[in-house]
């Protein structure tokens, strides 16, 4: 099939960007979306042009490195699917597709569709861990954790750190990402001890990075490839308020 593309091209964060038109002729329905871009890039390079820069690595939906806005939707039209796992059978011959980077103040553009998401790393750095050194751990089975607790913690821990939640949010809030980490660690006895310190530090860092406030539109969960629940945000807010109360005392 033949696909028309309008792709955001931008040299760096300081330059102005714009949409450029491209056509890819020989698209196969079994191609992944990124392989369609590879096909375009092959053509561009052969013509001596700069290929479209985009982020990707594992191409199996787990590393979280890929991610673009496809017709205005983070990771494109399929639910619970990363950009790399989207296939061209989701489109039809003659379609025009708009491709843009994940845009947010806290995600400066590196080039074209590549953005800098190190702000998410800094949120984890501020407190998204259990303070245990190598060698300190007790015997693994000494603290039983019920099946349900472990599963619930896992649901939150499944976040791949792609940033689609931020890109989908009209306030560019990172609440889903941050709430997921807080919930993961708070649901396990190993992480509980530090919850209050953690939540205060992570929320503060989130604000420092220039992410907006959550206004409960729930757009993030809709576009999240891992279907991370907005209940994680509620838990974060609850724990945050509790931590403030405790600090005041």
């Amino acid at each position: 099939m033949k696909i028309y593309l309008k792709i955001w091209r931008q040299k760096d964060n300081l330059s102005k960007g714009s949409f450029k038109d491209y056509t890819v002729e020989d698209v196969n329905k079994d191609m992944s979306f990124l392989e369609m871009l590879d096909t375009l890039n092959l053509k561009l390079v052969k013509q001596g042009e700069r290929p479209v820069e985009f982020d990707h690595d594992c191409r199996e939906g787990i590393c979280g490195q890929c991610g673009v806005m496809i017709n205005g939707i983070a990771h494109g039209p399929l639910k619970n699917t990363t950009t790399c796992q989207l296939h061209m059978r989701s489109f039809k011959d003659g379609d025009t597709i708009y491709i843009e980077p994940f845009k947010a103040e806290a995600f400066p553009i590196v080039r074209d569709l590549k953005v800098d998401r190190s702000s998410l790393d800094r949120i984890i750095t501020s407190g998204g861990f259990v303070s245990v050194d190598t060698g300190q751990a007790p015997e693994a089975n000494s603290i039983p954790i019920t099946y349900e607790e472990a599963e619930a913690a896992f649901d939150a821990a499944a976040c791949i750190g792609c940033g689609a939640c931020v890109a989908s949010c009209k306030n560019s809030s990172a609440a889903l990402f941050t709430g997921a980490k807080i919930t993961h660690l708070e649901l396990l006895p190993q992480g509980q001890k530090e919850t209050h310190k953690r939540v205060a530090e992570m929320v503060e860092q989130m604000e420092k990075e220039g992410f907006g406030h959550c206004s409960n539109t729930e757009a993030c969960q809709v576009e999240c490839p891992e279907n991370i629940s907005v209940l994680n945000i509620a838990r974060m807010n609850f724990e945050y308020n509790k931590s403030k109360l405790l600090v005041k005392k």
């Binding site: 196969n28 080039r111 790393d121 861990f129 039983p144």
Partner: protein, 641 residues
């Protein structure tokens, strides 16, 4: 001073005492001195992140590098199945010794006894460590940890976190690493690619790295360098590895004197999704656990035109069940992959490109019902549908073998030090404990054990002799030379201005290797491959096209560097496969098989690790042999009939 020649440094004493003997006698660095010592760790996968965090906790100053935009994306993240540990929670007779023996046998008796034993010995602590970090491993309803069995062993020692064990273990290690970033003991360099290793007075003293966002070339000095750069199975182009996985870091270290061991030993995984067209960029792994309930078959007639569900039983060949009645569909990876290739080569492959075999769940669906199958493999069936558009509850999956894991890598001694003083290699980057074939769920373990539990001791033992050595001067002339060489190389790629992209060269190379140095190898094929690779390398020098320039984001330039190295590594792989006139594990030489087509090992002549030394001519490497001495175990024939 140059290190003594291939000294394995295996400690004295009985097998089960070696590691504790080592630890008791290893030199220590006084906590006050640690903060004066700098360590570079390249790689943030399970091995690199665990090493960097553990070393920083001890008080060393660590610089941590990765090419992704955050450490959490290292390809360890993609591991699905699980991680092994000899906890014996199932009371099913598991023990450190049994795990050691299974690993040694699985590797077809081509690994070092002492290292393999240590891997099993440290396995239990890893589970403790991961649990303490908050890794949500699978649990029983009562709250205790759950286990399952995995690939060709008789006990249940595999711990898992849904189908995302690697992701969860890596997040644990990553969070530990970020905690040390916060403590300012680790400085993080993401989107940085190591271009070269710098030696001063024959010791590893630093690296040259390129900032991939700005194109800037940087110098970094240290008292020791650790390479944790993962596997290079991506050399086959189509593989289960990530797009950025590479051999460049270890290869450039090799060119500075680090030996490469058994480079041709690559595990080809039997259950990946097949290639669907020439545009294909990678192959997705489907967990091996599917083989517990799926039956593998091909049509008997190579001209079969019917849909799989219309082909009656008598026209199907369940070749694994036929050839290996006792293990059947659960035959080990190398055997299952080779058998699939045999069928595909005989023209019995299925699918549009006739490059796959069927994995059929109809019997299991009938026997257990759709709900049970869904509970067991629901996420895999979903993934299959996402990628192929096919519902595997209604018709069989199509699977095929894919390059997956590098058993070969940098040669290291018992201390995980390479043949260069002060250069260590951990995780999949070293030639490791897996011999000629890795057992499922053992490599996450190896990466973690190397980083959390072994390197902190062995690196300290080395650094204890470096305390008086001042900080490395990055203005030293060796840095000048290395940096100039790197810049020149990038410039050469940019100015070749030919017509073929790095990707096109890579695809061609990958096909050549897969055909001739993949599942099955022959003298004739390998010689031909060497010739073709040399030609391709020559063409690369004159006909490569890379647009743009070096002082900016330029992914084509990054690829060019990786492919340039692959073109040399590939030849070494063929040379390595050619010198080994035997079949062992994943290395199957057509000339060396038993009457019924099984691998024929030759312990008398080939019980060694081949450690290759760079000579400046990629076609003429020097072979050094590390004899494998079996003091505690007697090698047997590995049979799964």
């Amino acid at each position: 001073m140059q290190k003594p020649f291939l000294d394995t440094k295996i400690p004295e004493g009985p097998l089960e005492k070696k590691w504790s003997n080592y630890k008791q006698h290893a030199k220590l660095v006084n906590p006050n001195n640690r903060k004066k010592l700098e360590i570079i760790v390249v790689g943030t996968g399970l091995s690199g992140a665990s090493a960097a965090a553990s070393l920083a906790e001890m008080g060393y100053q660590v610089k941590s590098f990765c090419f992704q935009d955050t450490p959490r994306r290292a390809h360890s993240v993609a591991a699905q199945g699980g991680v092994n540990a000899a906890k014996n929670y199932k009371n099913d007779g598991d023990s450190v010794y049994r795990m050691f023996y299974d690993t040694l046998k699985g590797g077809d008796f081509r690994s070092r006894e002492a290292n393999t034993y240590r891997l099993a010995e440290c396995s239990a602590s890893l589970i403790d460590q991961a649990i303490a970090q908050g890794v949500p491993f699978a649990r029983e309803y009562g709250g205790y940890l759950r286990n399952r069995s995995f690939g060709g062993v008789q006990v249940s020692r595999t711990f898992y976190a849904r189908g995302q064990t690697g992701q969860q273990l890596l997040l644990g290690a990553y969070q530990g690493l970020m905690r040390q970033v916060k403590a300012e003991k680790v400085k993080l360099y993401t989107r940085h690619e190591m271009l070269d290793l710098v030696l001063i007075d024959n010791k590893a003293k630093g690296i040259i790295a390129r900032n991939l966002d700005t194109g800037e070339i940087e110098r970094h000095g240290a008292h020791a360098v650790v390479l944790a750069t993962g596997g290079f199975g991506k050399i086959y182009y189509l593989s289960t590895l990530a797009m950025g996985c590479n051999a460049s870091a270890i290869w450039r270290a090799h060119k500075k004197g680090a030996f490469m061991a058994n480079p041709s030993w690559t595990q080809i995984h039997p259950t990946s999704l097949p290639q669907s067209g020439p545009y294909q960029s990678k192959l997705t792994l489907m967990s091996e656990s599917l083989r517990n309930d799926g039956r593998i078959w091909v049509p008997k007639d190579q001209n079969e035109k019917r849909k799989p569900n219309d082909i009656p039983e008598e026209d199907r060949d369940y070749y694994l069940e036929r050839k290996y009645p006792s293990f059947g569909n659960l035959a080990p990876r190398d055997i299952a992959s080779r058998a699939a290739k045999e069928q595909i080569d005989a023209g019995k492959g299925v699918g549009a490109l006739k490059n796959a075999v069927y994995l059929d769940f109809s019997r299991a669906l009938k026997e257990y019902g759709k709900n049970i199958i869904k509970e067991r493999y629901g996420n895999l069936f979903d993934m299959y549908r996402k990628i192929t558009g096919i519902n595997a509850y209604d018709e069989p999956m199509k699977i095929s073998p894919a390059a997956h894991f590098s058993m070969g890598g940098l040669w290291v001694d018992y201390e995980l030090m390479t043949s260069i003083n002060g250069l260590f290699a951990i995780g999949e980057a070293n030639f490791s404990d897996h011999g000629a074939n890795r057992l499922g769920a053992n490599s996450l373990l190896q990466a973690c054990v190397d980083g959390y539990f072994i390197l902190p001791y062995t690196l300290s033992n080395y650094l204890a002799t470096e305390i008086k050595v001042p900080k490395t001067d990055i203005q030293h002339k060796e840095f000048d030379i290395a940096e100039a060489n790197c810049s020149k190389l990038l410039e050469d790629f940019l100015t070749t201005k030919g017509t073929k992209t790095a990707e096109e060269f890579h695809k061609e190379l990958g096909k050549e290797l897969y055909d001739k140095c993949g599942l099955s190898r022959s003298k004739e094929g390998l010689e031909k491959a060497i010739e073709n690779i040399q030609k391709l390398r020559k063409e690369f020098k004159s006909n490569l096209i890379v647009p743009g320039d070096a002082a900016e984001v330029n992914s084509e330039l990054e690829k060019a560097g990786r492919v340039a190295d692959y073109l040399e590594v590939a030849e070494l792989m063929c040379i390595d496969a050619l010198q080994r006139d035997e079949s062992c594990g994943a290395h199957f030489r057509q000339e060396y098989q038993t009457e019924d087509g099984e691998a024929k090992r030759d312990d008398e002549n080939f019980s060694y690790s081949a450690a290759w030394e760079w000579t400046t001519n990629p076609s003429k490497p020097n072979l050094n042999k590390e004899p494998l001495i079996f003091e505690f175990v007697k090698p047997t024939v590995r049979s799964y009939k």
